[in-house]
């Protein structure tokens, strides 16, 4: 039975059935509805957990670091500035191999301050050692949280997982979704049983100083764990499908891709709009398709190259930019193809920054090449905001 519910509340419900022991968060738009709902759930005793109201995101991340290290399943959520304030702790959490799950309600990064959606925040945390999964809709977002704990806590992985969902577009939208019962969740997700944790009966030291003699190996093992997670993410998606009958892809998913000559690649909620655009072009007989990147870390190099090998042109819709380089995801896809033959033309299209609407028409324009491409990779740039005005006739005459 489906429930018509806001995305944030659906996620809070999913987190609840994961039976977290400690939840800690600091309010920031558009993450607030998730943690407000969790606070309410804890207050009403629906889950036996400690909800720690902290004085900053830095402490939110530090609290869940401490609680997870003590053997308690832990959860936090944030976005944008909050994610950046957490940055130092994020690297610490992954380095300590603590499988915390965090929701990132994707939002633009300041300055200028902007609370609306893009994906600059999480994509900028690319190298933090967190697994990053991107949800397309609210059902996937809520299901992804159960999968996230199962992936992160896998003994061959032991890495934190960031569930990325577009701020406002998903967090604040109402959709009918299947919520997950406690019984079903318990069947899918076993309790958290770490081998080593802070425990006086078997004392260990965590966070020791590691010098040049072993530091590199800690990083190698994290890379190995990320590589291990490639299979685990696929397996967990399949297990979820077997139990719940819902599947969104593992590392990637495809839509009308089989014979597609032109393909759009993207992450997150924009894929719904992209599929509408593809449907309308397909009706006109154009061979267009979609590749959804569900896991950005680990980056599914092999799966992406395999999926795109038949395409002639690939447009990567990017809700973030590496200033001085360009699109982040398109750069990575190009790198994945490096050294291979039959490489499609790969173009990054930076779009939707700071909450700018992305329409079906814009995407069709990108797909059929009719869109404006006069501003490097940036799509739909407003000329009057970036160019000096044409001088008036009087001014020209005066200068003559």
């Amino acid at each position: 039975m489906k429930t018509f519910i806001e995305g944030s509340r659906a996620v809070a419900d999913a987190v609840t059935v994961c039976r977290p022991k400690v939840i800690s968060a600091y309010p920031i738009t558009p993450q607030t509805h998730i943690v407000e709902e969790l606070a309410k759930i804890v207050a009403n005793g629906k889950v036996k957990a400690e909800f720690v109201n902290v004085e900053s995101e830095f402490s939110a991340a530090s609290v869940v670091l401490g609680s997870c290290a003590t053997g308690a399943r832990s959860y936090t959520a944030t976005t944008a500035q909050g994610l950046f304030l957490m940055a130092e702790v994020l690297f610490n959490i992954s380095g300590m191999r603590l499988p915390i799950v965090m929701t990132c309600a994707n939002r633009a990064v300041s300055a200028p301050i902007n609370i609306w959606n893009d994906q600059q925040d999480s994509l900028s945390m690319r190298d933090s050692g967190w697994i990053q999964l991107y949800a397309e809709d609210n059902q996937e977002a809520l299901d992804m949280h159960l999968q996230a704990y199962k992936i992160g806590e896998n003994k061959g992985v032991l890495l934190p997982v960031m569930v990325c969902m577009d701020g406002f577009i998903l967090t604040h939208s109402y959709e009918p979704v299947e919520l997950i019962s406690q019984e079903d969740a318990d069947r899918f997700l076993p309790s958290y049983q770490p081998e080593d944790y802070l425990n006086p009966d078997n004392p260990v030291t965590m966070g020791a100083m590691v010098g040049p003699e072993a530091y590199m190996e800690t990083r190698y093992l994290m890379q190995e764990a990320m590589e291990n997670s490639v299979k685990v993410i696929e397996d967990v998606a399949n297990e979820f499908n077997n139990q719940f009958g819902r599947y969104y892809g593992g590392l990637i998913d495809t839509y009308k891709l089989e014979d597609a000559e032109t393909v759009i690649v993207s992450l997150g909620s924009v894929l719904g709009t992209v599929k509408d655009a593809v449907d309308s072009l397909r009706e006109k007989g154009e061979k267009v398709g979609v590749l959804k990147v569900r896991s950005f870390r680990p980056f599914p190099k092999d799966a992406i190259c395999e999926a795109l090998k038949g395409a002639k042109k690939v447009h990567v819709l990017e809700k973030a930019v590496s200033i001085g380089m360009g699109g982040i995801v398109s750069s990575e896809i190009k790198a994945a193809f490096c050294g291979k033959t039959g490489v499609p033309e790969i173009v990054g299209s930076i779009i939707g920054l700071g909450g700018r609407d992305i329409t079906v028409e814009t995407i069709i324009g990108i797909l059929n090449g009719s869109g404006d491409s006069s501003y490097d990779q940036f799509i739909d740039i407003k000329k009057e905001l970036v160019e000096d005005p044409e001088p008036s006739d009087e001014a020209v005459a005066a200068n003559a």
């Binding site: 380095g95 191999r97 030291t205 965590m206 966070g207 020791a208 590691v210 800690t218 093992l221 764990a225």
Partner: protein
């Protein structure tokens, strides 16, 4: 030995680091006028001073760095720091 995830270290493992090699001056516990006040034990930053028998103390030279706190704090001058001949 393979690193544990997160480079977790097992406890009671620093004994292998014999800090006595740092020493220039070494304490000599004369065990003559000792009153058994234990200030040498209590004030040793290494925790390497121990009781041999009643009013007789000595230190484990494997770890003693030779800081000399015990000699300064001994009320009856029963500990002497001497230049170590290695």
């Amino acid at each position: 030995m393979k690193l544990k995830p997160g480079a977790i270290a097992d406890s009671h493992t620093s004994h292998g680091n014999l800090t006595g090699s740092w020493r220039t001056f070494k304490p000599v516990y004369k065990q003559k006028d000792c009153t058994g006040c234990k200030l040498c034990v209590i004030n040793c930053p290494e925790g390497c001073v121990f009781e041999v028998e009643d009013r007789k103390y000595t230190c484990n030279l494997k770890y003693c760095k030779g800081c000399g706190i015990c000699a300064v704090e001994c009320h009856v001058n029963d500990i002497e720091m001497i230049l170590e001949d290695k």
